[in-house]
Amino acid sequence: MTKLNLRLLRTIKHTLGQYIAVSLVIIIGIMSYVGFSMAMVNLETTVSAYKQATNAADIYVELNRIPANALKFLYDIDGIVDIQGRVKSDIAYTNEDGVRGTLRVVSVPEDQDRAIHNLYIREGSFVRGNRGVMVVQTYAQANGIEIGDAMDVQINGKTYRLTVEGIVSSSEFVYVIENEQTLLPDNEKFGIIFLEESFAQKAFGYDNSYNDLLIKVEDEEQIDGIVDTLEKKLKRYGASRVISHKDQLSNRMVEEEIKQGKNSARTVPFIFLIAAAAIIVTMITKIVRNDRMAIGILKAMGYNNRQLMIHYSMYSMGIGVIGGTLGIYFGMQVAELFARMYVEYSFDVPMLVGNFYIEYIFAGMFMTVIFCVGAGIFGSRRIMKIHPAESMRPDAPKVGRSIFLERVRILWKHISFSWKIVLKNIFRSKKRFVFLVMGIALTYAITVFPLYQFVAMDEVFLLHYSEFQKMDYNVNFLKPMNEHTLYDIKGVIDTSDIEGKIEFPFKIEHKWKSKIINIIGVKPDTVFYNFVDAENRPLKVPNEGMLLSEGLAKIMGIHVGDKLLVKTFVPERDDQWVEVTGLVKQNLGSNAYMDIDYMQKAFMDDQLITGVYIDSTDDVKSTLDDMKYVGSIQSVVDMKEGFLQFMDVFYMSISLMIIFAGILGFAIIYNSTIISMNERQLEFSSLRVMGFTKNEIFKTVVYENIIMTLFGIAVGIPVASSMLNGIGEALTTEFYSLNIKIPAAIFFYGGIITIIFVIIAQLATYGRLHRLNFIDALKNRTT
C-alpha cells in the first residue's frame, strides 16, 4: 500500500464515527433503492405470473340472472374465447368467536383445469360434491379454520353444515377486501368461500342459471369494445357491472400499491443520497482546509493535483464502496423480505418470483459512484488552488470578524461569556450554519412524514366514519325491496333514526373517461350524511342532478356544472345525462349522491330501496341477520376495529422511516460537531487555559447545537408542511383522498423526535471532546 493510502486509512480510522455515520446514510439510500425497486418489479412479475398460471379473467360481469344455456350466444361476440358462469353472493356469517362478518360465496365449476381463475390449493383438496367448502386462506388463517372443520352457513334462510375440504387462494382476490369503501382487508370479518357449482346453484336458487360471469378474450385490445357490447346484450339479464380486469377491485388495489411502492423507490433513496453527498462534501472540504499545509508539503515533494485529488476523493470512495456494497447487499435481502411481506400479509399470493435484476445492482453502484465520487471531487476541488509554497508559510491568522449581535452593544454587554462563545461560533461560518439548518430541517421533514401518514390515516377514517357518514349501521338487502321494509325493521329493533337508501352501481361517462361507481340515493334532509365541499360549506343533494365525491371528480376531470352520462344497468331504463351540482369532500371511496325520490323516478322503480341506514343501540346485527332479505350489515364500530388492526402493520413501516430519519439526523449533527470540535481545538485549549472545565466547553457546544436545531426545525416546519400538502395531493386516488388539515400535533412530535436525535448525536460526541488533546493542539506543528 502506498504511504498516501496508508495515511488515508489512518485518517479514516481516526474519524471512524463520522465515516460510519455517513456510510449508514448511503446504505439506507442504496438499500431502499435496490430493495424497493426489486421488490416492486418482483411483485409485479409475481402477480402477473400468478394470474397467467391461474387463467385470470379479462372481463367480470355481475347480473341478475342468466340461464346457463344463454351463455353460448355470447360466443357470437367477436373476441370472446371463454365464458364461465358462476353464482356469487354475500352472506352473513358468525365465526366461532361469535364475531359477525360477511362471506362472499363463489361457485366453482367441477372441471378446475379449464376454469377461469382456477384456484390454488394451499391445503386439502378441491371440493367434491355437496357440503364441501373451500375457504380462502386469508380468512382461514385469521379465523383458525382447518381442513375438516365444520362451518354452518345460512343461505336463503336455510342452514347448511359444510366441511372445509380445501384452503385456497384465488388470483381474483389477491387483495381481499369487501368493497371500495373498505379499503383495508379485515380478514377476520370478510372472506371468500368456494362451493361446488351445482350445490351453490341449488342453495341460492339459481338452477341452471348464474348471476356472475368470467370472460376471457382473445386480445387485450378488444376488451373495451367487448365490454360495451356486453353491456348492451346483457341488459335484459339485469347486468349491473361489466368491467375490464383493469377496473376490477383487487387488481386496482394491487396496481395502486405497486405504483406507490415504485414512487417510493424513486424518491426516498435520493433524499438520503443527496443528504449524504452534502455531508461528504462538507467533510472533505473541511479535511482539505485543515490539511492545507500537508497538501502544500505533498506538492513540494512532487505530488501532483491528480494524485492529491484522488487521495482525498478516496475518502468518499471508501464510503461509496462500503455504503454501496452493504446497501446493495441489504437491498437484495430487503427486496426479498418486502416482496414476501406483500405476498403474505398485504396480498394473498401463493407464489413469489424472486428474480434478481442486475440492472438495479448496476444502477445502485452507478448512483453510489456518482454521489460519492462526485461529492469527493467537489469537496476536494480546492486542492487545485493550494500552492506548494504555502507549506513554507506558517498558518495565516484567522480573520476575526465581529458578528452582528456584537454591534448591538447593549444586548451584547449583558450576555454571559459562555453564551458569547456559543453565539460567535454559530455565526462564525454562514455555510456551516446553512448546512446544519438545512440538514436538521430535512431530518425534521423526514420525521414528520411518517407521523403524518399515521395521523392522516387515522384522521381519514375518523372523518369518514364519524363526520361524513354518521350511521351506526349500513344495511344492504340482497335484492331491492319495497320501502315498507323500513317498517318491518322498525318493528324488530329500537332505532333512534332510520332511513331507506338506494345504493346501486352505474357507469358514469365524462368525455372519454368512464368509471363504474355506486350512486347513493338519500333523503334531501338525511341525517346520515354530512355533505360539505372542499371549503367546508354545506351541500344538499339536489332535486335533480347529483353530488360527486371530490377525488373522483379530480381523476375524471369533472367540474361543477358538467353533465355526465349515467349509464344504467337496470333493465328497461334509459341512460341519462345528469348534472353535477356539487363536489363532496369524501376521504374514503368514490360515490355520487342523489335525492332518493329523483333516483327512484329516473333510474329505478318507485318505492324501491336497496338498504337502510340505522342509528341504534340495539344489537342490530344479530337481530337483522335472521331476516332473509338482509345481505350485509356493516357497523361503523367494526370498520374502526379493522382499521386499528391494520395500523399495527403500519407501525412497522413508520418506525423504520423514523429510524432512517434518525440516522440521517445523527450523521449530520455528529459529523458537523466533530468537525467543528477539531477546528476549534486551539480555541478550546485557550479556554481550558483560562480555567474552563471540559464539561463547560461541552455545554457551549450543546447550546450551540440546540440553537441550530431550533433554527432547523423552524425552517423544517414550512418545508415539511408544503411537502405534506404535495404528498396529500399526490396520494389522492379514487380510493381515498388525503385532503385533510395537517394536524399541528405532528409538527410538535416531529420536533421532539428531532431534538432527541440531536441529543443522541450530541452525547456521542462527548467522548470525543474528552479525548481531544489540548496540549497537543497548543504545541501542534505537525499536520
Binding site: L298, M301, P388, M392
Partner: protein, 236 residues
C-alpha cells in the same frame, strides 16, 4: 567535475500584489552556486530569503528574471515539469518539520521516496540521520530535533541534487540546532549534495562554502568562504 554555475539566478524579481500596494520581495537578485557547495543565505526576517528559495525549489515563479538549475531553465517549466523537478531534483526541509502526523518516521520518508526515480536505501538514510531505532515512532512521540531529522531524511532519501532548507534550526534550541547543522554538513560531504540553508543567524555563515547575504529583496554580498569552520567549532 564541479560546474561553477550549478544554480544560476539571473535578475530575479518577485512582486506580491497586496491590493493597492506592491511588495517587492525580490528586487533584481542574481548569483551563482557551484555544485557540491554548502551555501548559507543570510538575511534578516522579511528580506526575501524564503521567496528566493521557493523560486529555486520550483514552488513559485518569479515575476521577472530566470533561474537555471544544472543548465535547465526552470523558470520556463510548466506545472507538470515543475512537479517532476520537485519530485526528482530538489529536497526540502522546513522550519516546522511538517511531518504527516499519522505516519511513522519511516513512513514519512517513504511517502517522499515512493514517487521518485532512484531513491536511496531508507534504512541507511535513517541510520545516517541517527534514527535507525526510531523508524516506527510517530511524530508526536518525538522531540523537535528528532522530527527535524526525520524531515531531513525525508528530503535526502529522495536522492535529490539539491537540498533546500528554510531555517531548519529556527524552531529548535541551540544545542539541537547545532546537531542538525552538523547533520546537514555531513550530508553535504558524504552524499555530495549541494545544500542551501536559509538562516538569519550570522554565526551559521562560518560553516558555509558560500555565503549569500540579503537585505530588502536584494543580494548585498556573495562570497566564497575560503575556510569553512566545522560545526562544533562555530563561535556563536
Amino acid at each position: 567535475m564541479a560546474s561553477n554555475n550549478f544554480v544560476r539566478v539571473e535578475a530575479v524579481k518577485k512582486i506580491y500584489k497586496m491590493g493597492e500596494v506592491n511588495v517587492h520581495a525580490l528586487n533584481d537578485v542574481s548569483f551563482e552556486i557551484t555544485e557540491g557547495e554548502f551555501v548559507v543565505i543570510l538575511g534578516p526576517s522579511g528580506s526575501g530569503k524564503s521567496t528566493l528559495l521557493n523560486i529555486v525549489g520550483g514552488m513559485d515563479l518569479p515575476s521577472e528574471g530566470r533561474v537555471f538549475v544544472m543548465g535547465n531553465e526552470i523558470t520556463e517549466y510548466d506545472e507538470r515539469a515543475l512537479t517532476l523537478y520537485r519530485r526528482n531534483t530538489v529536497g526540502f526541509v522546513f522550519q516546522f518539520y511538517n511531518l504527516m502526523s499519522n505516519l511513522t518516521a519511516r513512513e514519512n520518508v517513504e511517502l517522499a521516496t515512493e514517487i521518485c526515480k532512484d531513491a536511496l536505501d531508507i534504512d541507511e538514510v535513517m541510520s545516517a540521520v541517527g534514527l535507525g531505532d526510531r523508524s516506527g515512532h510517530f511524530p508526536s512521540q518525538m522531540s523537535g530535533g528528532e522530527q527535524q531529522r526525520v524531515a531531513i531524511a525525508r528530503a535526502v532519501a529522495k536522492n535529490p541534487d539539491i537540498l533546500l532548507c528554510d531555517e531548519p534550526t529556527g524552531a529548535l534550541d541551540f544545542q539541537t540546532g547545532v546537531t542538525i547543522l552538523d547533520l546537514l554538513s555531513r550530508i553535504n560531504k558524504d552524499y555530495n549534495k549541494t545544500v542551501i540553508v536559509i538562516t538569519h543567524n550570522a554565526a551559521i555563515a562560518q560553516m558555509a562554502d558560500r555565503v549569500v547575504k540579503m537585505r530588502s529583496g536584494k543580494v548585498i554580498d556573495n562570497y566564497v568562504n575560503a575556510h569553512p569552520v566545522a560545526t562544533e567549532r562555530i563561535e556563536w
